[in-house]
Symmetry: C2
DNA sequence: CGATTTGTCTACCGACCGGTAGACAAGGCA
DNA sequence: TGCCTTGTCTACCGGTCGGTAGACAAATCG
């Protein structure tokens, strides 16, 4: 047994937990099934995380960091306000493509209440501030429709996350539309929608 | 014991179930706590609904009918495309104001997968068709930005429902903002956002 | 080499949850 | 009046879940 264990196990468990919390909800996913999926017994999982809630917190922080890294990478080298908005949305959709349960987990985190969600949001706070300042600048320079920048950011968030998580609704509204192609269609749609909504009134 | 029971009990149970399914999720809410909340034993609830899933289906149909009635009432007498869109959004926000768990329940229904969500959506199908046709007309007459009307309806849905259900996110993004005043702010924001997004490109 | 830490396991417990069986009382009906 | 349906209850069962106790083996370190 190579003593490389430790951290690696931890991250594997967290990844699987995000997967199952996203798919089945916090209550719906059992630590037993998470442990089994990682190829380990429940008690081994409890060795790394003292209880289910601690596992959740680890997932929230990990998810925040992952999303933060994605967004930071997307912003690199982008200068204009529209390039940035587009890059962030594209980055988030890319993350959703390679990790479909990720947006569902974030939504579940929000459902669990502010206490849980803040664990996730705190990691992203610097980016949140940057985004609001940036939207404010765009409004000052007349490139973005004037409004409350924080509320705008909230509405943008709901539009993007909703588009990523409401697959059942998509199915009911536009008919069967699944897989990677659907995700690309939705990304394009959200981009057009957001661009139109940001455009200043003449 | 007045023999008025029956239907009234049923609807009371369904209302409470929507409440708890919305607040705690399908898995998180137990039929026992639902029964207790309406002042009855679990076995009495099981007398009306053979099992938990049957209760859920009854909730889905009831929710669909309630939302359908709300939207239909909102549409009455409205002629222009913008009056209609605004009336529907206002109606949905009104429903959310008097029944806060309702949007959460709808989102939970979507989370449970297409099979469950269709029970809810089927009731609303006539309205869905009307909405798409109506958006199409608006595009043909140049009053609405040209795009896929079904995808537009989906994006509008996600924006409205997201704004109603992501309270934790709102808290994290714009700071503490609760109660009826917050709901009104969000309604105004969504209205502005949607109006800007629908506006045709010059 | 021996002591200790690290990691994984088996065995078990108490709580809860969904659902069944069936007693029982009160209203409606022939 | 007496039977039957309707509605509500107590009692219980099997399964799952989160969590504890503690045995045990391999790796590490003085």
């Amino acid at each position: 047994m190579p003593r490389t264990g430790g951290e690696q196990r931890r991250t594997t468990i967290v990844a699987e937990a995000i997967h199952q919390f996203g798919r089945d909800g916090y209550k719906g996913a059992s630590i037993e099934s998470i442990a089994t999926a990682v190829g380990v017994r429940k008690q081994t999982l409890l060795y790394y995380f003292p209880n289910k809630e601690a596992l959740l917190e680890a997932c929230l922080v990990a998810a925040g960091e992952r999303l933060g890294a994605t967004i930071a990478a997307a912003l690199e080298g982008k200068e204009t306000y529209w390039d940035r908005a587009e890059a962030v949305i594209h980055g988030v959709f890319g993350l959703a493509a390679e990790w479909p349960e990720f947006p569902m987990f974030v939504r579940e985190a929000a459902r669990l209440g502010p206490t849980a969600f803040d664990r996730f949001a705190d990691v992203l706070d610097p980016l949140r501030r940057r985004a609001i300042g940036f939207l404010q600048d765009g409004m000052d320079s007349g490139e973005i429709r004037k409004q409350d920048p924080a509320m705008l950011l909230f509405t943008l968030y709901t539009a993007v996350v909703g588009s990523l998580t409401e697959a059942s609704v998509l199915n009911a509204v536009v008919g069967s539309d699944t897989g990677q192609a659907s995700l690309r269609r939705r990304e394009r749609e959200v981009l057009l929608f957001v661009r139109a909504a940001l455009r200043p009134t003449d």
